[in-house]
Structures are given as C-alpha cells and as structure tokens.
C-alpha cells in the first residue's frame, strides 16, 4: 500500500455509507481470521437494483476504505452485475496497487457482498 494513496486514507478516515441499515434485505459478516479485519454489509434492493449498501466493521485501511469505495461503486447495480466483480475490478476502483499480501484485505468487502447475494440466491 502506498502511504500517499490519499483516496484510501480519505475513505479510511471518513468512511461513506458507514453504519447499520434499518430494513436491509440482506446482511452478511465477513472476517479475515489472520488479521482481525471485520466487515458486516447491509444491502437493500429496489426491484433488481441495489438501492442502498452500508457497512460496519473494523480493520486495516485497505479493508475498511475498500468497502467504503466499493459501496459507492455498487449502488445502482443489479445483482447479476455485482456477482461478476473480481480482483481486477477492485484494483481499478481503488486506483492503487494492491500487493499479493493485501489480497485478502482488499477482497473482504466484495466477498461479504457477494456472499450475501449468493447465499440468498440459494435460499430463495
């Protein structure tokens, strides 16, 4: 991670869409056992489109700023669109180089969101 990645540090200090979401359709927690990163996402859909996405949690800048940045990206997208996001997309959205050792931190938020949707796909 680059110390001068202002975008990351800005989202880390001032996370967007932070907090629990009342009346969420889906809620999913995802943990990084080795380093203690912890994210819970709340998703609310209007029809097929993601209307609101919020999160709570704690952890390193990459994981926490990551889900903050991602929340802005995903709102308005459909379930189908969200489920195809991958590491390449995350790198593009973050706009900084993500080293292999930070892969799990960077992917944590997306993993929570996708897990919420795929679990629901099975149960519904």
């Amino acid at each position: 991670m680059d110390i001068y990645a202002q975008n990351i540090i800005d989202h880390y200090k001032h996370p967007r869409n932070f907090g629990a979401l009342a009346g969420a359709d889906f809620k999913q927690q995802e943990l990084n056992a080795t380093c203690g990163d912890d994210i819970t996402v709340f998703l609310k859909f209007a029809g097929n489109k993601l209307k609101a996405l919020s999160f709570t949690g704690q952890g390193c800048a990459i994981s926490q700023a990551g889900i903050s940045i991602l929340s802005e990206e995903l709102i308005g997208k459909t379930k189908k669109q969200i489920l195809v996001y991958n590491f390449e997309d995350i790198k593009n959205i973050f706009g900084v180089e993500i080293s292999a050792r930070r892969y799990n931190c960077a992917m944590l938020g997306l993993r929570a969101v996708q897990k919420a949707l795929s679990d629901s796909a099975r149960s519904k």
Binding site: M1, I3, C35, G36, D37, C60, I62, S99, R101, R102
Partner: protein, 401 residues
C-alpha cells in the same frame, strides 16, 4: 565482537533502501559461517547418519554428534539429554504426547501463562480434548510481567502436574523470573517445561541452574536454519517416557511381532534426521559463542534503552509490556494506523516488521488489542536503524492523521 558484515542478507536492498531487519523474533538472519557449514556438508560429507559402515557415513555421523555436544554444552546439559526435533513446537508436542499421555489424567492441571505462544497452548488443549486435563493461565500485571502472587496461588492448587511457560514472551519481550516459579513447582513435585524459543538467542541458558525438567527451542531463532530444534529433557524423565514416533534409529531391534527401544537420545529421533540442519545449528551456536553472550546482552540492552527513549516521544504509539527486564522485542499499537497498514507501508521502506497477533491470540484478547505491530531487534541491529524506523513511523502517523 559484533560484526554486522558476517550476515550477507543485511547488505540487501529493497527498492534501493537498505534492509532494516526488525523481525528477529520471527526468525534470525544467518551468518556466513552457518550458510557455509550447511553448504560444505552437502558438498563434502553428505551421507545418512548412524547407519553406514563407510567413511562418508562416519564423517556425517561425527559432524552430527559433534553438533549435539555443542548444543549440550551450550545449555549445560548431557549429550544424552539433547533430542533433535524440527523446532520448539515439535518439542512441546513430543512432551505432550509422550510424557503427557503417560502421566496426566482427567482433572489434572497444566499451568501456562496467558502470554504463551500457540505452540505452548494448543498441544495442551489437545490433551484437554483427549483426556480431560484442565488448563490454568498465569495472569499478567499491567507492565506485562507475570503476576507472581496469582502464579503461586495457581501452583498451590491440588492436581497441578505440569508448569509449562515461556521464559520470554514473543510479543512483549519481558524476561520473566522462570527459575523462581520452577523452584516453587519443584517443591510441590510439579514437572516443569520451559519454552526458550525467544530467550535462547538473547540470554545465557543453563538448564541445571534453571532447574527445569524440559526445555525447548528452535534453531532458526538463534541464527541456525529452519526445521531444526532441540528438546532438552532430564535424563530420568526421558528414560521413563514411552517413545513418541516409531521408525528407524529409535529401535534396538524389530521383529514381526515386537520392537525394542534404542537408548537415549536416539529413542526420540525416529527417521533420518535433519543432518544439515543439526550441523547448521552447531555452526550457529559456535558463532554466537564467538560473539559472546556478554557482548550480545550489552548491545541488546543498549538497543532496548535507545528504542524506548525514541519511541516515547511519539505520543500516538503505545508499547505493550513495559516491565524493566526486557529484550529488544516491542509490540506497538499506533493511534489511527492499523498494524497491517504499518507493516505493509514500512516494509516498502525496507523495514521488515511483523503485524498481527504473533501466534499469541489469547494474549492479544487479554490485552484488548486485536493486533500489534512488532519490532524485534538483534545484536546486529544499530541505533541508526532505529532512527530510520522512527522517522518513517512519524511520516506514517502524519499521513494517517
């Protein structure tokens, strides 16, 4: 004498920055003499030990056994009491499975400290599952040292059979008064195991003076190769213990229906051992003795004092474990900066640190810190490196402010 140039890797550059190796508690760097001893063995003497009736096997066996004598002298033990293992973890597991399963019963108590490494917790948790032993943990005082009053109370409990503790915590770096508790345990007939994985590279260890029954350490933390370690056991206990792993070298005979057990120390060394590892460990011990324990302790004490002096000025940084008797191992929390970000960013500046719970999750839970940034120094580190670390850390704190 301390010669930094004896360690080839310390001249390495990372992105044009000199390597500042502050992760010695994970593994220490290797001197040229260790690297050459291993390489020479494979170039000139490679053969299996204790088996061949040929000159090459003789040379390999001799080197292997000379290294065992070096280890024995290094910690004040007899040759027969030195069992080569793959590391401290394997040593503790051997004691748990051999001594533990033969001597512990449901309801018996094993006393640990809350600052133990997972390697000295999980094998006992496994015995808790398997035979129903109970674990009790010595708590810590605010400065990170053992609460000795509580420890004595725990040792007074009926059914305490084993005290298994680390001399120095791999997170806090506090040097605990192990011999004091060992003495008390002995009076009560409690068997004692010392995890010397962190202390062995820094402090002179004498098992007779410590008075412990078992002691384990890993070779790589004192400058030897990985994959080799030592279990010291008092002869009387080792003789009474059942063998752990079965295979070659640990037998005196085998027929289709039975086997006989070899004498010590081979009884606990089944299979072809890590011969080059043992020889490398011998070279590492020789190297450390050449530098001199006294010199190492003076240099490391100076580094500890200097580090603490400098870090004190950074108000955003908190040190966990402030007791006076301390090795240069520092667990830090930084206000506003997650340890993983710090380790990642400082790593790009060539400073090698570790972030996380350092295989001591119960300790981190106890201290209420999910993760820490750990800087662990060795005698070959310098005050200049500490200055560089501090200035980069300041820059990092500013960027996150």
């Amino acid at each position: 004498m301390i010669r930094r140039n004896d360690f080839p890797i310390l001249n390495k550059k990372i992105k044009d920055q000199s390597l500042v190796y502050f992760d010695n508690a994970s593994t220490a760097q290797k001197s040229r003499s260790v690297i050459e001893a291993i390489s020479n063995f494979y170039k000139n003497d490679n053969a299996n030990v204790h088996r061949g009736l040929n000159p090459l096997a003789d040379a390999a066996t001799k080197k292997y056994e000379v290294a065992r004598s070096l280890v024995a002298d290094f910690i004040g033990a007899q040759k027969e009491e030195i069992i080569f293992t793959s590391g401290a973890t394997a040593g503790i597991n051997l004691v748990a499975r051999s001594w533990g399963e033969a001597n512990l019963q449901a309801g018996d108590i094993v006393v640990l400290s809350i600052a133990e490494h997972h390697a000295n917790i999980v094998p006992w948790l496994q015995l808790q599952e398997k035979i129903g032993i109970k674990l009790e943990y010595i708590p810590l005082k605010a400065d990170g040292s053992w609460d000795l009053v509580a420890a004595k109370k725990l040792l007074n409990k009926r059914r305490v059979k084993l005290l298994a503790i680390s001399q120095v915590s791999n997170v806090l770096g506090i040097i605990n008064p192990a011999s004091q508790l060992i003495k008390l345990a002995k009076q009560k007939g409690i068997v004692t195991l010392i995890d010397a994985a962190q202390s062995v590279a820094h402090l002179k260890i004498d098992v007779k003076r410590l008075g412990c029954d078992f002691l384990v350490f890993s070779g790589h933390k004192l400058g030897g190769p990985t994959g080799i370690g030592v279990l010291y056991g008092r002869q009387e206990l080792l003789l009474a213990m059942p063998p752990f792993m079965g295979g070659g070298d640990m037998i005196s005979f085998v027929d289709t229906d039975s086997f006989g057990v070899n004498e010590l120390p081979y009884k606990f060394e089944a299979g072809t051992p890590n011969i080059a590892g043992v020889i490398g460990l011998g070279a590492a011990i020789k190297y450390l003795e050449g530098v001199g324990h006294h010199n190492i302790e003076i240099q490391e004490q100076q580094l500890t004092t200097y580090f603490l002096q400098k870090i004190k000025k950074l108000t955003a940084v908190k040190i966990l474990g402030t007791a006076k008797a301390k090795l240069p191992i520092f667990a830090l929390t930084i206000k506003g900066v997650h340890p993983h970000d710090a380790a990642d960013i400082l790593g790009q500046a060539g400073i090698i640190l570790r972030a996380g719970h350092h295989c001591a999750q119960p300790l981190h839970d106890y201290l209420g810190a999910p993760a820490t940034l750990r800087a662990s120094l060795s005698f070959y580190n310098t005050k200049g490196e500490i200055d560089y670390f501090i200035s980069r850390l300041q820059e990092l704190i500013r960027a996150f402010k």
